[in-house]
C-alpha cells in the first residue's frame, strides 16, 4: 500500500528531525504498516508512533487495543482463522473450532508451545457458500468438517519438519 509505506517513510523522516510531523490521522495506517512488517505491534513501536504523531503513548495504546486487527504479541508461524460468521455458525463452525482447539491444545488467541500455530476466531471471511470455512495463512479451506481438520493441520506440520 503506497500510502502506508509513505507513512513509514515519513515517520522515519520525523525521527531524524526529532519532532512530531504526522497528523493524528496517520496513527492507524502507521500501526497497520508496523504489523504488516513485524507481525505484531510492540510496546517500543507504540512509543515510536506516539512520538511521530505527537499524541500520548496511552492514546496510541488505546487505539491499538480498540481495533481487533492489532496484535500486541508475536503470532505463531501459521495463523489459523476459524470463520464464525452467521452462515458458518449455522453450518457447524462451533464443532470445527472445538476440534481445532482439541487438536492444537490451545484456546482462541493463543499460540502453540512450538510456535507453529496461532488460533483466531474471525467474523466472516466472506465465503459463506463454502461454510464452514477455515483460513490458514492465505489459504482458505471450505466445507471443513471436525474430522477433516486434523489432516489439514498435518500438512503444515509435515512442511515444518
Amino acid at each position: 500500500m503506497n500510502e502506508l509505506s509513505s507513512s513509514a517513510q515519513r515517520m522515519n523522516a520525523g525521527k531524524r528531525e526529532g519532532g512530531a510531523v504526522l497528523s493524528q490521522g496517520e496513527i492507524i495506517p502507521l500501526l497497520q504498516r508496523i504489523q504488516e512488517d513485524s507481525g505484531y505491534v510492540s510496546e517500543e513501536q507504540i512509543d515510536e508512533v506516539a512520538a511521530a504523531t505527537g499524541v500520548s503513548a496511552s492514546a496510541v495504546y488505546g487505539v491499538a487495543t480498540f481495533y481487533s486487527q492489532f496484535r500486541l504479541q508475536p503470532p505463531g508461524q501459521h495463523m489459523v482463522r476459524v470463520c464464525e460468521g452467521t452462515a458458518c455458525h449455522v453450518l457447524g463452525a462451533k464443532d470445527v473450532l472445538q476440534a481445532l482447539k482439541m487438536n492444537l491444545g490451545i484456546d482462541v488467541d493463543e499460540t502453540t508451545s512450538d510456535g507453529l500455530f496461532s488460533l483466531e476466531s474471525v467474523r466472516c471471511l466472506g465465503c459463506c457458500s463454502l461454510a464452514p470455512a477455515v483460513m490458514i495463512d492465505n489459504e482458505t479451506y471450505g466445507r471443513v468438517t471436525p474430522d477433516g481438520i486434523g489432516k489439514i493441520l498435518d500438512t503444515y506440520r509435515k512442511e515444518a519438519v
Binding site: Q32, T86, C128
Partner: protein, 592 residues
C-alpha cells in the same frame, strides 16, 4: 472455435477460496498448449457462489455457456470438447436460468462480466458517461433533484433518502467538504459491498465523483475493511486509472470541478459502520460514536461538512444518471424504489449474491432464486440485517423487501445479509450468536449498551445451558427494550433486535429451553444426551477411541454405553459412528 470471443473466470474472494486461481492457471496453460489465442478475463463475482469456481465461455454473439464447480482437471475437457470441438461439455454445464431470470441487475450489472482491473472495460459498458454528461449538462441542484425523484435510499441499512442527505451537505457553507464512501461492511454473513468493490470498482468511484459534485466536495475517502485486501488492491488500481483518464483529479474533463479519492483501511471494529465512529476512526482515534447534532453534514471529518454513503448506494448513482430517475423508480414498491443486493447464505441450496427489485417477497427469494432449503428441509426463518436485524418466521415469508413493511415485523432491510434457517437451527442459539457479536463489538461508551448487552448475553447463555428460569424471558425482553432506548448509536439501538424478534415469534422454543430443559433443534449441547442403541451398535469401538473424556465403556454385552456424567456432549461419537447407533435426545428423562 473462432466464434469464441472470450473466456471468463470468476476471481473474487469467494471464487479464489474455492480454487478458481488454479482453474485460471490450468486454463491459461491449456489454451497455450493448444496454440489458441483466446482472451481469458479475470472477472468479479457473478453471484453463483454455490457453483464456484465458475468458467464462462462467451461466443461472439454474446451467448454464454457457464461451467460450474470446475476443477483444474476438468479444464482440458472444456478446451478439447468445447473450445476446439464446439461441443458443450454437458455434465459440467450449469443452468443460470432459475438463479438469474428473476433478478434485476443495476448495482451488479457488470459484476462477473467485465475485467474489474480495466477502465476500458467499464467504459465500454457506458461507465463514466454519466459523469461526463452530468458535468456538461447538470447543476448540483439538478443532480440532487434527480436523486430525490429516483427515490434512492441508503442501502447500508438506514434507508435515509439519498437526495435529502446530499442536499443537507450541499447547503452547508464552507469551501472544504468531504465525500466518504462507507465500505466498512461488518455484518457477519454479508459480502455485497466487497463483491461490488472487487467486481466493478470504477462504478463506486464514479458514484462518489457524482455525489461530490452535487455536495461541493473536493476530497473523497473510501473507508474499507482491512480484511478486504483484494477490494483494496482493485480500488487502488481503479483510482490510478481514473486519474490517468481524467475522471479524478484537478479540473475534471475541463469542468472546473476537482475531486480526488484516498483509501483508508479500517482496522476491525463493527461500530465504525456508524457515521460518527467512522469519522473518529479516520481521524486516528478510537472508533466511538458521538452525540448528534451536529450531524456529519454540518460538522463531520475534521469538523467540515461531510456526506457518508454506503457502497451499494453509490453504485446505483451512475446508473440513475445514465438512465433516468424514472427508470430507477420504475422498480420497487411504495417508498422503496429500485433494487436491493442480498448475500443469500445459510441452509439454502443456491447461496450467493443476488439483486432483486424492491417489493419481491422473502419467500420468492428463498424458493425461486435460492432454489429452496438444503436437503429439502422445512424453512423455519430468515435472518435479515445481521446483528442489527431480526428473524422473520416462515409464516411471514410473504413479507416484501420494503423498508416500511419489514420494519413492522421487527426486522430491517439491513445492509443485505440474508441467512436462511431450517428446523435444525435453534432460534435461542441464533439470538445468542448475534448478541455475543454485538456485546463484543460494543464500544463501551453507553452504559446500557456496554452492560445491558453483557447481562442479556449472560441470560441467553444460561438459557442455552438449561439453567434458565421462566421469568428470564420477560427480563430479557424488558432489558432489550431499555438497551434500544438508551443507546447513542445504531449499534446499541438495534443490538437487541435478534433477541426481541426471536422472543416474539419463537416463544415456544424459549419455553422449551426454560421449562422442559429441551432444545427442539438439538443444537444447545448442554441440553442434549448422547445414547447408544445396544441393538444397532456393532461394538466396533470407533467411538471409544475418539471420546475425549473416556465416557464410553463396554455395556453388558457386545455393545458400548455412554456415561452421562462423564460425557461432555462434544458429539464426536455421533460423527464417527458408521452404523448410526448413536441417538441424540433432548429434554427431561422420563422416569418410570
Amino acid at each position: 472455435m473462432s466464434d469464441i470471443r472470450e473466456i471468463r473466470v470468476g476471481l473474487a474472494t469467494c471464487g479464489i477460496a474455492a480454487g478458481a486461481q488454479r482453474v485460471y492457471e490450468a486454463l491459461a496453460s491449456s489454451l497455450k498448449e493448444s496454440g489458441l489465442d483466446i482472451p481469458i478475463r479475470r472477472v468479479g463475482c457473478v453471484g453463483m457462489c454455490y457453483s464456484e469456481p465458475l468458467v464462462d465461455v462467451v461466443m461472439a454473439n454474446d451467448a454464454v455457456t457457464t461451467y460450474g464447480n470446475v476443477t483444474p482437471e476438468d479444464v482440458p475437457r472444456v478446451v478439447t470438447e468445447h473450445v476446439i470441438g464446439g461441443q458443450i461439455v454437458e455434465g459440467l454445464c450449469v443452468s443460470t436460468e432459475s438463479f438469474l431470470s428473476r433478478q434485476v441487475r443495476i448495482v451488479l450489472e457488470n459484476c462477473g462480466r467485465i475485467d474489474p482491473e480495466s477502465i476500458d472495460a467499464y467504459r465500454e459498458q457506458g461507465g463514466y458517461a454519466g459523469l461526463e454528461n452530468m458535468l456538461a449538462q447538470m447543476s448540483p441542484q439538478d443532480v440532487i433533484e434527480m436523486m430525490t425523484s429516483s427515490g434512492l435510499r441508503g442501502r447500508g441499512g438506514g434507508g435515509f433518502p439519498t437526495g435529502l442527505k446530499w442536499s443537507l451537505t450541499e447547503r452547508e457553507p464552507g469551501a472544504e467538504k468531504y465525500m466518504i464512501c462507507n465500505a466498512d461492511e461488518g455484518d457477519p454473513g454479508a459480502f455485497m459491498d466487497r463483491s461490488v468493490l472487487e467486481g466493478d470498482p470504477h462504478r463506486v468511484l464514479e458514484g462518489m465523483a457524482i455525489a461530490a459534485y452535487a455536495i461541493g466536495a473536493a476530497h473523497g475517502i473510501v473507508y474499507v475493511r482491512a480484511e478486504y485486501p483484494l477490494a483494496i488492491a482493485r480500488l487502488e488500481r481503479a483510482i490510478l486509472d481514473a486519474r490517468a483518464a481524467g475522471f479524478l483529479g484537478e479540473d475534471i474533463l475541463g469542468s472546473n470541478f476537482s475531486f480526488d479519492i484516498k483509501i483508508k483501511a479500517g482496522a476491525g471494529a463493527f461500530v465504525c459502520g456508524e457515521e460518527t465512529a467512522l469519522i473518529a476512526s479516520i481521524e486516528g482515534r478510537r472508533g466511538t460514536p458521538r452525540r448528534r447534532p451536529p450531524y456529519p453534514s454540518q460538522s463531520g471529518l475534521w469538523e467540515k461538512p461531510t456526506c457518508i454513503n454506503n457502497v451499494e448506494t453509490l453504485a446505483n448513482v451512475p446508473w440513475i444518471i445514465r438512465h433516468s430517475a424514472e427508470a430507477f423508480a420504475a422498480y420497487g414498491v411504495g417508498k422503496s424504489r429500485g433494487t436491493k443486493v442480498f448475500a443469500l447464505a445459510g441452509k439454502i441450496k443456491h447461496s450467493g449474491l443476488i439483486e432483486v427489485p424492491m417489493g419481491m417477497s422473502i419467500g420468492e427469494i428463498v424458493f425461486d432464486i435460492g432454489g429452496g432449503i438444503l436437503d429439502d428441509r422445512p424453512l423455519k426463518a430468515v435472518q435479515m440485517g445481521g446483528p442489527s436485524g431480526g428473524c422473520i418466521p416462515a409464516e411471514l415469508a410473504d413479507t416484501p423487501v420494503d423498508y416500511e413493511e419489514l420494519k413492522k415485523t421487527g426486522a430491517i432491510v439491513g445492509s443485505g445479509g440474508m441467512i436462511v434457517l431450517d428446523d435444525s437451527t435453534c432460534m435461542v442459539d441464533i439470538a445468542r450468536f448475534f448478541l455475543d457479536f454485538t456485546q463484543k463489538e460494543s464500544c463501551g461508551k453507553c452504559t446500557f449498551c456496554r452492560i445491558g448487552t453483557k447481562r442479556m448475553l449472560e441470560t441467553l447463555t444460561k438459557i442455552c445451558d438449561g439453567e434458565g428460569s421462566p421469568e428470564d424471558l420477560d427480563a430479557l425482553v424488558d432489558l432489550g427494550e431499555k438497551v434500544k432506548a438508551n443507546s447513542l448509536c445504531g449499534l446499541g439501538q438495534t443490538a437487541p433486535n435478534p433477541v426481541l424478534t426471536t422472543a416474539r415469534y419463537f416463544r415456544d422454543e424459549y419455553n422449551a429451553h426454560l421449562v422442559d430443559k429441551a432444545c427442539p433443534a438439538k443444537v444447545c449441547k448442554s441440553l442434549l444426551r448422547f445414547e447408544i442403541d445396544p441393538a444397532t451398535c456393532k461394538d466396533c469401538k470407533l467411538c471409544v477411541k475418539d471420546c475425549p473424556t473416556g465416557a464410553i465403556t463396554q455395556g453388558d454385552g457386545k455393545y458400548q454405553s455412554i456415561d452421562p456424567e462423564t460425557c461432555v456432549q462434544c458429539g464426536r461419537c455421533y460423527q464417527v459412528c458408521p452404523f448410526g447407533a448413536i441417538a441424540i435426545e433432548t429434554g427431561k428423562v422420563n422416569v418410570t
